[in-house]
């Protein structure tokens, strides 16, 4: 990892390629800066999904990624885990570890980093749990709860990480009932902290703040444009 000079750029993709088993995307380079709210647009939902997963380093990506001044090689698996830890990602699936409790799922990053075997409930997070409607379920395993609780857990976990950037891929699961307000508040809060938000939705979802940029994904090019 090479430390480079600090700037307002949060994330930079340089000469990047995303290539999955059946789909490939054209090479792209762009910056995501503080306060950016970026919407991904494409005629092909599958490509947009792959693209946003690639940006969140969950799909095979090649090229150079710079995050908060540190350079990451997407092929350096171990180093990339440090980057993933700083990314907030809300996808169309609320995947949680089925053999861990809700509380352990939320604080897995803490248990891993601080080498803890068990996690104790910290009173300071009670408010978040209550707002997401998961407080009564924190000692239960995900499969013994409802889909809404799982989504709430996922949402709390991603925002408790204090991410440097938030990616939302078709976040329709998080836009129902109590979760909608919780997501909205967290996005507003992130926006106030100048955390950039990148999202893709095919159900007309709009984050609480104004869209500043668009990334157009076409067959032959991917470009970021400013919304006037």
């Amino acid at each position: 990892m090479v430390i480079l000079e600090q700037s307002k750029t949060i994330m930079e993709f340089k000469n990047c390629n995303i290539l999955d088993q059946n789909i490939s995307l054209p090479e792209f380079s762009f910056l995501i800066e503080e306060n950016d709210v970026v919407e991904i647009e494409s005629l092909d939902d599958e490509k947009s999904s792959l693209f946003i997963r690639g940006l969140a380093t969950l799909a095979p990506l090649r090229g150079e990624i710079m995050f908060k001044g540190s350079l990451y090689d997407p092929l350096d698996y171990e180093n990339l885990l440090k980057l993933k830890r700083q990314i907030g990602y809300l996808g169309p699936l609320c995947s949680l570890l089925s053999n861990r409790s809700i509380l352990e799922n939320i604080f897995l990053f803490k248990m891993w980093e601080e080498n803890l075997k068990k996690i104790k409930l910290d009173e300071s997070f009670m408010n978040e749990f209550k707002q997401a409607g998961i407080l009564e379920y924190i000692y239960k395993r995900p499969e013994k709860t409802t889909e809404e609780i799982k989504c709430g857990t996922y949402l709390v976990r991603e925002f408790l990480k204090k991410p440097g950037i938030v990616f939302l891929e078709r976040p329709y699961l998080f836009t129902r009932g109590k979760l909608s307000r919780f997501l909205c508040n967290n996005l507003k809060d992130s926006s106030q902290k100048k955390v950039p938000i990148v999202f893709f939705s095919n159900t007309g979802f709009v984050p609480a703040t104004e869209v500043t940029h668009k990334i157009i994904v076409e067959n032959d090019k991917i470009e970021k444009i400013k919304v006037e």
Binding site: L81, I87, S95, L96, L97, N115, K117
Partner: protein
């Protein structure tokens, strides 16, 4: 001619796919070994808990299967062989046939049937349900958190099951020897003890290590192959079980040949 071209093409593709999976499995093993040797991951307590859990599932829970099997096999073996084997060579035959060959294979089969299929199914489901992504987004390494405990746990469990199998089968052997002859426990144990050497222990340990690594790596690899659909999981599980058995047989033969060529 057309059929010949098709056949040669099919054979070539099958061979290439086969080699590809062998190299990929070796790659997976290399990465897990690298993590194990370097040991520079954070959540060591979580990994250790995973190892203990895996040993419990693979070894402790398998005891109720391995103990009766080894007892029956030991009894039958000594009952049959004591009829035509000289008493002095009975120990040697028991060590070679029961302890070095049958014990490891039976233990491996029990582990394949019970745990290997479970591991493939578990990893397959986790992969399809994107649980691996969830682990990665928490900054944890699935290879260290999920794979390493399974490799160490299964390998240790197999070694433990080998030891249990050997002890119980000898006990079964004594029961049969006691039933059909007036051989004393002391005499029986001396016979067995004289036949067991350090190289036997080495051979059994090498087999435990090889079988443990083969079973865990094949299961993990096939589990990771299930990506999109739940229906892929049973297919991968069946394939993993067959491959584990086949590779264990091959390595059993290779290790036995190497040891016998060395005169051990």
């Amino acid at each position: 001619m057309k059929y010949l071209i098709f056949l040669s093409g099919k054979t070539g593709r099958t061979f290439l796919n086969y080699m590809d999976s062998i190299f990929s499995m070796s790659g997976l093993l290399y990465r897990i070994l690298k993590i194990f040797v370097k040991g520079n991951y954070s959540g060591k307590k979580l990994v250790w808990a995973g190892i203990v859990e895996q040993i419990y599932f693979t070894a402790v829970q398998a005891l109720k299967i391995i103990v009766p099997i080894s007892l029956i096999l030991g009894t039958v073996f000594f009952l049959q062989f004591s009829k035509f084997a000289e008493q002095h060579s009975l120990g040697n035959i028991a060590v070679i046939f029961l302890l070095r060959e049958t014990g490891p294979m039976i233990s491996a089969i029990v582990v394949i049937l019970r745990s290997a299929t479970a591991v493939t199914t578990e990893i397959g489901y986790m992969n399809v349900r994107h649980e691996m992504d969830s682990i990665q987004m928490a900054g944890a390494d699935p290879l260290a958190l999920i794979c390493l405990p399974r490799v160490i746990g299964i390998t240790t469990a197999i070694l433990c099951l080998f030891i249990v199998f050997n002890l119980v089968s000898i006990l079964g052997g004594y029961v049969s020897a006691w039933a059909i002859s007036d051989i004393s426990m002391h005499r029986f144990l001396v016979l067995i003890g004289k036949s067991i050497s350090l190289t036997d222990a080495l051979a059994v340990s090498v087999k435990a290590l090889a079988f443990g690594v083969i079973i865990s790596i094949v299961c993990l690899y096939r589990g990771f192959e299930a990506k999109k659909s739940i229906t892929e999981v049973p297919v991968k599980t069946a394939r993993a079980a067959v491959e584990c058995f086949f590779y264990c047989l091959i390595f059993n033969v290779i290790i036995s040949v190497v040891f016998s060529l060395k005169g051990w």
